[in-house]
Subunit: 212 residues, 4 copies
DNA sequence: TATGAATGAGACTTCATTCAT
DNA sequence: CATGAATGAAGTCTCATTCAT
């Protein structure tokens, strides 16, 4: 994910052809199939028919659950990112010190992508191969995560641990940019090393940059 | 650019049409046209015919200078990135202190992309919409820049300014990831603010992270 | 046909679209359209779109039934030649004397092509405008016919009518080469005379060559 | 060659741009290059530029000696066939008996193509991949050879050796069709056996067909 | 004569989406 | 709800030919 995408908005549709049923079992099936197929074949070789086959449904069925192909991608990102953020938020709540909170954020970010390599490929590489419109929608989804990072930074400043001179936006871009870059490198190196082990040194550098 | 691409390799062409041609006026014309067209229309709407028209040459002429459409992109990146790095290297040579060197690197990176918004769009957004093979070739090109960053980090450690505990790879990922994220945000916000002004605060944070 | 092509092999298609489809009505439609279009316009001016239009289907539909353009040609040949041979075989079974069998073979060969001038153009002229790979596949199909000719020759020898000194391969090449040349000439002369009437004199010469 | 092509006619061209210079050294070079390139790469992969390169001339130079690409093919056939026929005619003159003449004709036909495998590929396979117009021009060239065959047949009848009931056209088609088929088979079998050795049995069959 | 860089028309094939069943 | 056969628009690349030098 680039720091440019994340949200919970859903396209509304009216009348009979609404996608109200988005919560069916097939909806999940298709999302999972999409992650798998895109991770395996790459964005440009992931035809709707291939996703449908992997999901065990007919091509046309896709369009009962998603407006179009792009909508699969955005929904995929929304689904996965929603859970991604939720987990981090839950974990953060249990920590008291700001240093711990930052470590947890970094660790959880790395952990979750290490645990789901297919998802990592999709978020770090394949999902970026999209047009501007799609990227903007993805950014809406990403915003939730960025706000979470902002919260941590602001809390650190409030508590007097982080310098009050810090430009929050830039600090957030540093945190997200660094972690994102670490993950992308890991993916491109075909995850040949332990990603979560990078959390400690990353935490060290970022904390040093932020603290008074 | 993702921290994953940069080099000087040139693809070979068969027969008479070899590298010699790449120095022709038309070669430059096509590269410039490609940057403009891709920045304007996005990667997926930049047909070869559109680039040819913008360059003022026939469609077929493109193929006298480039192996295929993808080759235009890679060459574009090589061409532009070669100059991009060269400028930074030149500027770095003039600075003595490591703090200044880091500031110059950040500033030049931001400056060059601010000065060429079309190029910024292409490197930050459009060029990432490529398949894995293309991305690997781009990464080769990017390597030169990453090595440059490594050089600065190692120098800082040598001089006793940066902590010797620093993991160079991670430090490099932080520096590149942060700057890259700053630029991408600027591009996605449609460059409504001065990008170079971000250099100072970015420098402040990164320097703080690295110094003993 | 050159003495070099004939078979029943079917190319495989991946996924759902397998041979089942080849029995659809559209499959036949496309084959018939291809014969007509190629006979009228020549191989090199028979675009897929033209064939699709003649068949009354969309361009893309062609690719649900055929792997590519070449596959239309091979399938066409297989389809038509299969019936061609079958008819001759059926007719031969009804004849007792070897002389009659040879006459039937010649007559049927000429008759069938005279009855379908479009097919004659395609087999004698257009289908030979293909690359080596295609020609080899066509030859596979043709083999069935050549074997049929061999059968007749061997029977003649067995029955003591044909000389046992005969080189079967050469005799077969004479029979096929002669009939093929007669048909090609008829086609190139724009079928201005009755082709079947050539059967008698051809039969006379060939029989004389073979008999003891 | 199909029994459908051969002549000495040359397209006339007027004014300065005439191809009067067709007898230059380069003319021969290009013809030889064309035979070699077409035999090696097949008709469809024999671009004008490839022939030019093989001939050691510039692409444009081709057009000083030939009207267009097709003209190279026709000229090639004319050149080669002219010599082909001449040789057979010369040889025939030395023979007295009609049986000997027929044997010489068959042998020479096979011999010349066996001696020049590149030419055999071109005449038996590649040259047939042409459009109707080209084929008609080639047939004009071939006529000379067919007339030669007719001459032998008529002589045989005159001398009372061949039956006077023979249809000369059909006899000629049998002779040419048989030899042509024998050669084509040899080429497609990648000339793995001695072609000239086929002359005797072919002669035996044809002579038997024709004699009283 | 000779060159060879430039031209530009032309076609195969893919694949997201629809809709009759 | 589900299907999957059918659609048809759209784009990359080749290569015969030209023409300024």
């Amino acid at each position: 994910m680039n720091e440019s995408s994340f949200s919970k908005t859903r396209c509304k549709r009216k009348g009979k052809n609404t996608l109200a049923k988005r919560r069916g079992q097939k909806y999940e099936q298709i999302i999972e199939a999409a992650v798998k197929v895109i991770a395996q074949n790459g964005y440009h070789h992931s035809q709707v028919s291939k996703i449908a086959k992997e999901a065990g449904v007919a091509d046309g069925t896709i369009y009962l659950y998603f407006k179009n192909k792009e909508d699969i991608l955005v929904s995929l990102f929304q689904e996965k990112m929603g859970k991604f953020i939720q987990k981090i938020e839950d974990e953060l709540a249990g920590e008291s010190s700001i240093e711990e909170k930052l470590l947890v954020l970094i660790t959880m970010h790395l952990q979750q992508l290490q645990d789901d390599y297919s998802l990592a490929i999709v978020t770090q590489l394949e999902l970026r191969q999209s047009n501007l419109e799609l990227r903007n929608r993805i950014n809406e989804v990403l915003k939730g995560y960025l706000k979470l990072i902002d919260t941590v930074i602001l809390l650190g400043i409030e508590e007097g641990i982080f310098s009050e001179d810090i430009d929050v936006r830039i600090a957030r871009q540093m945190i997200f940019g660094t972690i994102d870059e670490v993950v992308t490198n890991w993916v491109m190196k075909e995850h040949k090393y332990n990603l979560v082990l990078q959390a400690k040194p990353v935490h060290g550098l970022l904390l040093k940059a932020l603290t008074k």
